[in-house]
Structure formats: C-alpha cells, structure tokens
C-alpha cells in the first residue's frame, strides 16, 4: 500500500462544514436531507416486485413503499443521490490517490475475521435502519439538521450503543 503517495485527509472541521452545506443544499433544493439506507430499501422493493410481484403486493412493507413511490420504487430521490455518492467517493479517491483493492483491517486480526464481522455489522445496520426509519445519514444527521426529536434519539442510540459495546469488540480495532 503506497501510504506515502496517498494524500492526507481533509481537516475534519472543514469537511464537517462542507458536509453541513451539502445537507443544507438538499433541504433547500429538495426539502429533505440526505440518506443512504433508503436507497437500498428502494432497490430491494423493486427487486422483490420484479421477481415475486404477488408476494410484494401481499406484504405491507413492500406495498406501502411502492405505493408511496407511485408504483416505481426504484425511481426514488435517494437512489439518484446514492449513485452520486459512489461517483463522489470515487472521484475523491482518484484525486487523493486512495484507490486500492483491499480488505482494511487491524493487523492483529485476519481479513477473514474482518469480513465476517463486516457482514454481521451490515446485517444489523440494515435491520436497525428500518426500525429507526433511517440510518446515520438520513435519521441522525439529516434529522438533527431539522431539529427532529427522532434524529437526536437516533444519534444518541447509535453512538451510545457503539460506545457501550466498544469494549467487547476491541480486538477487532485496537
């Protein structure tokens, strides 16, 4: 890994201000904040509708979402936004020379362990994001921006739990 060649990260406070301006722009332009998990939900609902239409119609979760999107679950604001995130992340990686195929992990654990926990973490985060009506982006960050009570609760619950559990998973990270 060419650590010396890759550029340093942006000052976190500057990055935070720019992040805030992105959320502000989303609210000013579209009347909503940013998000991530909702785009995956759109993709899943569209996928289930295509593969098993009867099953999707009989399930309130899929059916409600589809109806709220005029029957076109994939044609959703967050889907377009997440496609942008992939492009934006990639461009940033190109500019700062950080494009590499790798499993990033603590050298004290094997990459297999890292991948198993990445999968488990993803499953839990996905499940939790549906109960929480949004993830760190959609519920916590964007919710806090509009002073939503739910946004503050999500933020406290996500970070609070991760802090409490940090001790038990310390071998993964330190």
């Amino acid at each position: 890994m060419e650590k010396s060649k890759s550029r340093k990260y942006m000052n976190p406070y500057l990055a935070g201000i720019l992040l805030g301006l992105v959320v502000l722009a989303a609210n000013f332009i579209s009347g909503r904040g940013v998000g991530a998990s909702g785009a995956i939900k759109s993709t899943i609902v569209a996928g289930v509708e295509t593969i098993a239409p009867a099953h999707a119609a009989g399930n309130e979760f899929y059916d409600n979402f589809s109806k709220a999107n005029d029957g076109k679950p994939i044609q959703n604001w967050l889907v377009f936004q997440m496609l942008g995130v992939i492009v934006g992340g990639f461009l940033s990686g190109v500019i700062s020379r950080r494009l590499t195929w790798k499993v990033e992990h603590n050298p004290k654990i094997q990459s297999r362990t890292r991948l198993i926990f990445a999968l488990l973490g993803g499953i839990l985060f996905g499940l939790g994001s549906q109960l929480g009506r949004g993830c760190t982006s959609g519920s916590a960050l964007s919710g806090m921006a509009v002073l939503s009570l739910g946004g503050f609760i999500s933020m406290a619950a996500i970070f609070g739990t991760a802090f409490v559990l940090a001790y038990f998973f310390r071998k993964l990270w330190i």
Binding site: Y13, S30, Q81, A118, L124, F125, G138
Partner: protein, 196 residues
C-alpha cells in the same frame, strides 16, 4: 423560495438530477474526511481518531445554522421541509441495533458506499449485509410491525418538545459540540496510534 422542488420551481426530473449532484458532494466530502476507512471511523469509540465526532457534529451544526438563517431570511419555508417522524420505541431499538452494527462492521450505510467506491472489500461485504438486513426486515415485517408503530409522537422538533426557541436549542447543541471536540482532541493525544 425554497424548497425548490416542493414549491415546483424545479421539475421532478431536475430534482432527481440535482439529487445525483448532491450525492456527488456528499460522497466526495465523506471520502475526503476519511469516512471511507473503517479503522478511522471506529477510532472514535477508542479515542485514537475522533474524526467521526468532528465531521458529524460540525456538519450537523452547519446545517442547523444554515437552515435557521435561510428561514430567517425568508429563503426557505421550514414548514415544507421534511421533518423525520418520531416513533419512540422503534427509534431507540433501531438505534441500538445500528450501534451494534457500527462497532462490529466499522461502517454505516453511507460511509460503506464511500469505502466500496475506492475499492475497500470489507465495505462491499458490509453493503451485502445491509441488503440482507433490510430484506430480512421486509420479510419479517409482521413480526416487527407492532414495535415499528409503537408510541407515535408525530414529527416534533426537539425545540418544540422542550418548549424552547430553535435559536437557544442550536446554541445548546453548539456548546455541547465544542465540549465534545475538546474531549476528542484530548483523547487523540491520550490514546495515540501511529499507523492504521
């Protein structure tokens, strides 16, 4: 004037196009801030790297203040802006499950897409997990439904909830954030880590 899409100043298709550009900005800033690295993200929970704390709270404050000013100047009608709904129990239980996912997986959904965009294989596996988790919720929706709809509080703003003005609330958040930034800077010196 704003929100442009809701006031029909821009069309639905323009709104989708702009969503794509907002996403580019979002992904670019997250990656530049270091959110494509799970080891940087997890650092906040052990004190060796508190970039998450700094970027997240600076971002939240900037957006809050921006909306407050835009509203004051009459540039945006805050009544037309989406305010997240609050269902108390599912917000708490969902947040707890997400917190567990965060410390195990090292990413949240948005940051995992940034990691995947620059080739992190662990981020791609995390994304597969997200798909499984959300699909599982959909299939088990009948089981989760009572919790999902319990304690519907509507869409309250936290300032309304506590009966204080928005300005005072934002000021409290700013003071709290400055305290946390100070603790964060201290923690990074206290629990340093060389290369990760």
């Amino acid at each position: 004037m704003g929100p442009l899409a809701i006031n029909e100043i821009i069309s639905e298709n323009t709104n989708f196009l702009l969503a794509f550009f907002i996403g580019i900005g979002f992904g670019f800033v997250l990656e530049q801030g270091g959110f494509s690295s799970s080891r940087k993200l997890a650092g906040v929970f052990y004190g060796y790297d508190t970039v998450v704390l700094k970027v997240f709270f600076t971002g939240a404050i900037t957006a809050m203040l921006g909306l407050l000013f835009f509203s004051l100047f009459g540039w945006i009608d805050m009544d037309l802006v989406y305010v997240n709904e609050t269902f108390l129990w599912s917000a708490i239980v969902g947040g707890v499950i997400m917190g567990a996912g965060f410390i195990m997986g090292g990413y949240c959904p948005g940051t995992s897409f940034c990691g995947a965009a620059i080739g992190k294989i662990d981020a791609m596996i995390f994304i597969i997990g997200l798909f499984i988790g959300i699909f599982f919720f959909g299939e088990a929706y009948d089981f989760f439904e009572p919790l999902f709809h319990a304690k519907d509080m509507g869409s309250p703003r936290i300032s309304e909830f506590f009966g204080i003005s928005e300005g005072i609330l934002v000021l409290i958040v700013i003071v709290a954030a400055i305290l946390m930034f100070w603790i964060g800077e201290w923690a990074e010196k206290k629990f340093p880590r060389e290369e990760y």
